[in-house]
Symmetry: C2
């Protein structure tokens, strides 16, 4: 099974556009048991495209070509595909009708050069694009089956899921279903998680479950990939491994699968009819951003005050800025001012002048929890870590877990 | 002049890492008059690497290989380079001494497998990497000169500027200096800017100045690229064109070159000994984020209040939430509360329930300016546009430009 991807377009080749189409397609294919072996990027240049198609057609069994299906004259994929396959171009009246309908719905006449988008190489099969006017198609060139896809991310991502993955699975006789169980954690580094989870796959039949990681600081994603004839069987195979992962990682797991840290916090607040107000110093306001974006209607997120000086926060809340208990007082003050069930304050100083550099407090009606922390890394890393630690502290409190556990990224106070 | 880039590594090929190294290198090379013609991504697999090197060595004059210079056994670039060039590997004692010194400075002994990083193909020339232990090198394979670079962005970006660009310019006899004059604007779409600037290059000798754009909504970057024997000459050639761009685009230009919108605002406030406080509804707090990040010491950014409900903002500021003048009252209230010279308020409603969907007010000691706007696009686009419009309104006020000009992205009130 040799799968290649050819990305086309001057925008991508010149670096003007970062090639996220490729990384998305390749990652999804790998998750479906369809690893990509080679990627080529070339510009909107006929001889170069021909050469790229020729080389891929000699090496690969399947080739996905991305881009070049647009209506303008620098979109060359159909023409070059026809030339490489040694055939002519023919009009697909059904697709032309679809493009015309697309424009009619929007109250506009189809520009004449869109007709080009309905011209496919003779012998090609249409690959449907329900969300755009660029027509996908497949055709055999040399020993490889080529799949042509549009460059617009929304369009190619949909085509990938609905059309390409099923077709490639069939082409390569992949009968298995793929299932990915995911855990999102904060506070344990990738290498330590790898150690802690050593041998966990052995709770499933040999080779059935594959453990992997994706670190995007401050979060780490732990993945259990499994293949099985049905989704139910896949879930059954992975279940004991997942349970063991939960046991070994314990409180650092913030969320699973499509859950997010923010989502878990919102659910926790909703469950108790609670809400939250925030005061932030030195985080550039990112605790508030995260909660606001997750709760656009303001059901449980009351507000956040964002400032870079302790003095400005103290003035705002009518507190003494030099008070050692400023963080606790601020958490209490925003709670009382808004009438929220939870008040959260975080004070970050990346100048090196304060120890600890991060102070976090969460106030409820009954009591105030405080934690101090010094993180490893430069100012940006400390700030990003402080935001995560603030949200994670609230998550821990709402889910009944210990709030002040020491994390891998922390260093001892000076 | 045929330049290719080969990106290596399973992380990149599998899509786990988005290939920003490639886009950065390609964009910089193009700016230096060194366009890339072909890019290949392959994994950490010896036969595939050999084949990729062989093909590139037949097509190209120069090849940059990125990645694979690390100390682990899946880092194969030196070995494969030697095999492709038909030579053996030899130890470079100077580089080994450098790696040992690197570790010694950090109080650690060099791990034995780092010795591998000082093994280069016979006949290779070292390409210095002052910021890491991976040794860059160049060697001729087939008809092409290959340049091997580390995968760590910081390391390859520095090597690109200090070593690769000068070497490639020399290899291809590029004697010219490249100069890029840039304008950052908000409020005029790329195609209209293109129209408005039609023929502007003609103010320089034929073909001397190339006009280009990079759109990253809500901002648009307009670029004038020029080549000349010296930087002074380049600047002199571009000067009348730049002046004409300023004249034609006028007030939509927010900043030039490395300036930013936030930077222009901070400079404007500093110049008058001013400062600013913000109140935001429905922006998820991003006006405050932008100002806070640009002013980490809180010199002129006092604070921002971030909430998603008008009611919550009104409660915070002791205002009536149903008052039609809420946005003006909020701008005035945050100004008075903080004693800042400028109070800014922005209220965004993407639900479709309000018209206009965006309300902005800026209060100073003397008066309050208000503007309302409806933007084209989905909720996310409206929100991002509202943040930019808020900051841009403040920029316009501080630089003495009209605050309420209609922009391309705006639609008429319902």
């Amino acid at each position: 099974m040799r799968i290649e991807i050819i990305c086309t377009g001057d925008e991508v080749l010149s670096g003007k556009t970062v090639n996220t189409n490729f990384s998305h397609i390749s990652r999804r294919l790998l998750e479906e048991g369809l690893p990509v072996t080679w990627e080529t990027t070339v510009g909107d240049d006929r001889p170069t495209l021909i050469e790229a198609f020729r080389l891929a057609s000699q090496r690969a069994d399947a080739v996905i070509v991305n881009g070049g299906l647009g209506p303008t004259k620098d979109d060359l994929s159909q023409e070059v595909a026809a030339e490489a396959a040694g055939v002519g171009l023919v009009l697909w009246p059904e697709w032309l009708a679809k493009i015309e309908a697309f424009y009619a719905e929007r109250g506009r006449a189809m520009p004449p050069n869109n007709r080009k988008q309905a011209m496919l190489p003779e012998g090609a099969d249409l690959v449907d694009n329900p969300v755009g006017t660029a027509c996908g198609f497949q055709i055999d060139i040399g020993k490889a089956r080529f799949y042509f896809t549009p460059g617009v991310p929304r369009e190619v991502y949909k085509m990938l899921e609905d059309q390409l993955i099923p077709r490639l699975r069939q082409l390569f006789g992949v009968k298995q279903v793929n299932y990915l169980k995911r855990f999102h954690s904060f506070g344990m580094g990738e290498s330590r998680v790898d150690n802690v989870l050593s041998g966990v796959e052995d709770l499933a039949p040999a080779g059935a479950v594959k453990l992997g990681f994706q670190a995007h600081y401050p979060q780490l994603e732990t993945k259990l990939a499994v293949q099985a004839p049905t989704l139910e069987q896949a879930k059954a195979i992975v279940a004991p491994v997942a349970e063991e992962v939960r046991k070994r990682l314990g409180t650092v797991i913030m969320a699973e699968d499509d859950e997010t840290l923010e989502g878990v916090i919102l659910d926790g607040l909703r469950a108790i009819g609670g809400d939250v107000a925030v005061a932030e110093v030195g985080t550039f306001g990112h605790v508030g951003v995260r909660l606001a974006a997750a709760d656009p209607n303001g059901e449980v997120f009351r507000r956040s005050a964002n400032t870079n000086r302790r003095h400005d926060l103290a003035t705002l809340l009518d507190l003494a800025s030099e008070d050692e208990a400023l963080v606790e007082n601020a958490a209490t003050a925003v709670r009382v001012q808004t009438g929220a069930t939870h008040g959260v304050a975080v004070l970050v100083d990346t100048s090196g002048a304060r120890d600890p550099q991060i102070e976090i407090a969460i106030a409820t009606a009954d009591h105030v929890i405080r934690r101090g922390s010094n993180l490893v890394g430069n100012a940006e890393r400390v700030r990003v870590g402080a935001v995560e630690m603030t949200l994670d502290s609230l998550r821990r409190l709402l889910t009944g877990q210990p709030v002040t556990e020491t994390l891998d990224f922390e260093k001892a106070p000076k």
